[in-house]
């Protein structure tokens, strides 16, 4: 049974994530799903588009998962990110961990999403009615 699930996909299916992380040695599973929010800084988002440098992104995601497994003694970890065009309320990322006790899976889950946002080469373009913005590109 694989400990790590690391994927870049066209569409995130949230219905299987707890089954994927389920494990006889685990008492807790914590999962974070990031979704497209309708408004950002008061402006209405029409859609988002995600682009990635896939080979490098998978490597970086794998490093994050391995670091978390070692640090929190996790039983299973998922890091799954979507690419392409996403509409409001659609899931764009799902990260999660299962562990014997709940402290570990909560802390690990937070680490997974925070570190993914810092290091994984994925870029988000926000599309508004009259403009598009590459998020974080400019100071």
């Amino acid at each position: 049974m694989q400990k790590k699930i690391i994927e870049i996909v066209e569409k995130i299916d949230t219905s299987q994530v707890f089954t994927e992380l389920s494990d006889a040695q685990s008492g807790g599973i914590c999962v974070f799903v990031g979704t497209v929010r309708e408004f950002t800084q008061g402006e209405e988002v029409v859609s988002l588009e995600f682009e990635t440098y896939q080979k490098m992104a998978l490597k970086e995601m794998d490093k994050i998962a391995s670091d978390a497994i070692q640090k929190w003694n996790l039983n299973k970890v998922i890091i799954r990110h979507a690419v392409g065009l996403k509409k409001v309320a659609e899931p764009v990322v799902a990260v999660g961990a299962s562990s014997a006790h709940r402290d570990a899976c909560f802390e690990a889950c937070r680490y997974l999403i925070d570190t993914l946002k810092e290091t994984v080469p994925i870029w988000k373009k926000e599309m508004f009615e009259n403009k598009t913005i590459w998020v974080s590109a400019h100071p």
């Binding site: 682009e51 990635t52 946002k117 994984v120 080469p121 373009k125 590459w134 590109a137 400019h138």
Partner: protein
């Protein structure tokens, strides 16, 4: 030397890949490549920051570049 471009880097250059030819004084290190990109495309200087990946790993400024390396410009990431 081929350089892959993503996100806003692709928009700045107008293409997903550029070829740096011999007559351009091919950069020998990550630092030289960054300087080259800013000189050639001043909009790179307006970014919050940008990194370079060599063979799909983040590379520090002093890492040497070989023409057979897979080299990519990594503008500020914004996944999640």
């Amino acid at each position: 030397m081929d350089v892959l471009l993503f996100g806003i880097a692709k928009d700045i250059v107008g293409r997903s890949e550029i070829q740096i030819l011999a007559e351009d004084a091919v950069p020998n290190s990550v630092q030289e490549l960054k300087a080259f990109m800013i000189r050639k495309f001043p909009d790179f200087g307006k970014l919050s920051s940008f990194a370079v990946a060599v063979n799909s790993e983040y590379a520090e400024d002093d890492v040497p570049l070989d023409r057979n390396d897979e080299i990519a410009i990594i503008p500020p990431v914004s996944g999640g």
